[in-house]
């Protein structure tokens, strides 16, 4: 085989790739506008709240998947980062008197990153279930400290109620709750979600993202290519923790009352569940998973008080059948297969 000049086919492939990217940007843009207009057009407070809720968890699941899907580590302690995001907002407002939303979000993201660095530094040396159990133990330690109010910051299991933050010096926090959400806060979450998607899309396709995949696919090879794998696992944990923390911080204002429940291991379980449901092997899977999980829960709750059973069954079946594909990857594979068949005939 000798050198070959770019053929017509290559050029065509590049053009097709460009077209796919354009199509994605277009779809994304349309979706963004549609979501942005939704509350104003429908004036449906319930739906707006549900969407806000989904988007917060979509951010968290996207962040979680940096560790699970891209670096190949199952953490069972991500509630620590989600809860840190929430508690940072409420404690900064109540104890430090910070009321500006932007400052609060930045602070919460950074704090979650710090907790991520600590838990990460302690756990990146361990593997597989030991990593899962160590992150679980460390996060649970944080939960117990918050639930027993050690340090006097969290008010124990009673939790702390939260006021609505202001924005750029405008005392918008005084607006009634549903106006605040539908006219302002919902859009903040939407922007954060799309910003997270864009930033992560780039980061995961950067040399850094490739390095995480190297570690996931073959740790020994990565190390033998000169990659300090422990350091990159730690970076992955910090990045993941920051995004999950942002999701938590945004969610704090939606629920308005923060309790240690959000630090508990069942919360970690839910984040794992959402991500897996959507598909850890796909970029947007976690977003679909968060939506699927929350909608499923809402639907199940409408029909029965026994929604845990439904959710458990779904998780069980997804793990056994779809694995890393999840519903998003599964749907994509199905579409591909249908297209292939159409091409064949």
């Amino acid at each position: 085989m000798s050198t070959r000049l770019p053929t017509f086919e290559d050029v065509q492939i590049k053009e097709v790739k460009g077209a796919i990217l354009d199509k994605r940007l277009l779809t994304g843009g349309v979706l963004f506008v549609a979501l942005a207009l939704y509350p104003g057009l429908t004036m449906n407070a319930y739906h707006t709240r549900l969407l806000a809720w989904i988007m917060c968890f979509a951010i968290a699941a996207l962040g979680f998947n940096v560790v699970l899907g891209y670096t190949g580590l199952l953490s069972f302690g991500h509630a620590a980062f989600f809860g840190t995001g929430m508690y940072t907002v409420v404690i900064a407002m109540q104890s430090a008197g910070i009321t500006d939303l932007i400052v609060l979000l930045v602070l919460a993201t950074l704090m979650a990153g710090v907790v991520g660095a600590i838990i990460g530094a302690l756990s990146v040396k361990t593997h597989e279930i030991y990593f899962a159990l160590l992150t679980l133990a460390l996060a649970q330690l944080l939960y117990v400290l918050a639930a027993r109010d050690v340090g006097g910051l969290t008010r124990g299991t009673d939790g702390i109620a939260l006021n609505r933050p202001d924005f750029l010096g405008i005392p918008i926090g005084d607006a009634p709750a549903h106006i605040y959400l539908m006219g302002f806060y919902y859009h903040v979450i939407l922007v954060c979600l799309f910003a997270t998607i864009i930033v992560l899309w780039i980061v995961l396709r950067s040399p850094f993202g490739l390095t995480l995949k190297m570690i996931r696919e073959n740790e020994m090879r990565a190390e033998m290519s000169g990659v300090p794998i422990l350091r990159y696992r730690l970076y992955s944990m910090i990045l993941s923790a920051m995004i999950v923390g942002l999701g938590g911080a945004l969610y704090a204002v939606v629920v308005g009352h923060i309790t240690p429940e959000y630090l508990d291991w069942t919360m970690s379980g839910e984040i794992v569940f959402m991500t897996l449901l959507g598909g850890i092997g796909t970029f947007l899977g976690p977003v679909i998973g968060a939506g699927g999980f929350i909608l499923l829960q809402e639907v199940a709750l409408n029909f029965t008080t026994y929604w845990h059973f439904t959710m458990g069954l779904v998780l069980f079946v997804v793990v056994l059948t779809l694995r890393e594909k999840g519903i998003w990857g599964g749907a994509k594979a199905l579409v591909d297969r249908v297209n292939d068949r159409r091409d064949d005939s």
């Binding site: 085989m1 050198t3 070959r4 780039i202 980061v203 396709r205 950067s206 040399p207 850094f208 993202g209 490739l210 390095t211 995949k213 190297m214 996931r216 696919e217 073959n218 020994m220 090879r221 990565a222 190390e223 033998m224 290519s225 000169g226 990659v227 300090p228 794998i229 990159y232 970076y235």
Partner: protein, 264 residues
């Protein structure tokens, strides 16, 4: 079939060795796996290491790569003592090893596999906001490497379903992408069909000579050892039994007694 690379044999005026192990030892409890091995390797030669199972060949290469820590002795690479250096730092200095079973990234494409090595060599792993698909430097180099190893046709394939021989070549290409000064290969042709073995060795040695890379390879196939080594080191029970040009080693009585008749 004989394709010995006479043009690359060690020159008469020896330069500084690229790698020197001084009285290197490794003990596992009471078991002495490597028992004081002192050897020198140069960047313009191909050295074959032979020895029966349990002779300490793999342990010795693990000591060189840093996968195992030394019990005693010293390793000098390119003029510096690297005895306590972490694995990835040895790689960054140009000491690269490959494994019996190809170590590649299954869920990535052939292109990404090679590109990942190029990026790692340039220590660009920490770039967060540039797309790998736009990183023309590493793309160009990856394309050249794929061409050099005849892998272009597989570029966009995921590596899972590649034939074994191709996986092996890919593994080697990834190691070459690291621009090593010295490469340690653990049975580079294991698992490769006997007809392909020479082709694989050919590719490796050509590339090494072309780029002035020293090669150390462990091999059980005496035919390959004889054909491709400039020098042979025979290990037995953790010690150096012989270290000389191929014909001397192969004709040595001790080597015949302990290794060649041992049914390799």
């Amino acid at each position: 079939m004989s394709t010995k690379k006479t043009e690359s044999t060690k020159q008469d005026t020896p330069t500084e060795p690229i790698l020197r192990t001084e009285d290197v030892r490794k003990e596992f409890g009471n078991l002495v796996a490597v028992d004081g091995v002192s050897l020198e390797f140069y960047d313009d030669e191909i050295v074959g290491i032979i020895g029966p199972n349990g002779a300490g060949k793999t342990t010795y290469t693990n000591l060189i790569s840093g996968a195992l820590s030394l019990t005693g002795g010293r390793i000098v690479f390119d003029g510096d003592d690297i005895s306590d250096l972490r694995k990835y730092k040895r790689v960054r200095r140009g000491l690269v090893r490959s494994f019996q079973i190809p170590q590649i990234y299954d869920e990535l494409t052939v292109f990404e596999n090679v590109q990942s090595s190029v990026i790692s060599r340039n220590e660009k792993n920490n770039r967060l906001f540039t797309l790998t698909s736009r990183d023309t430097d590493s793309i160009d180099e990856t394309e050249r490497l794929l061409e050099m190893f005849n892998l272009e046709t597989h570029a966009d394939e995921h590596t899972e379903h590649l034939p074994h021989g191709v996986r092996k070549i890919l593994d080697v290409a990834m190691s070459f992408a690291l621009r090593p000064k010295l490469m340690v290969l653990d049975e580079p042709t294991s698992g490769v069909g006997s007809r392909e073995k020479n082709a694989v060795m050919e590719t490796i040695t050509d590339a090494a000579i072309d780029r002035n890379i020293g090669l150390i390879f462990i091999e059980h196939d005496m035919e390959l050892i004889r054909n491709y080594s400039d020098r042979i080191v025979a290990l037995h029970e953790g010690r150096v039994l012989a270290d000389d040009d191929p014909s001397t080693v192969m004709n040595s009585e001790e080597v015949n007694q302990f290794i060649l008749e041992g049914g390799v």
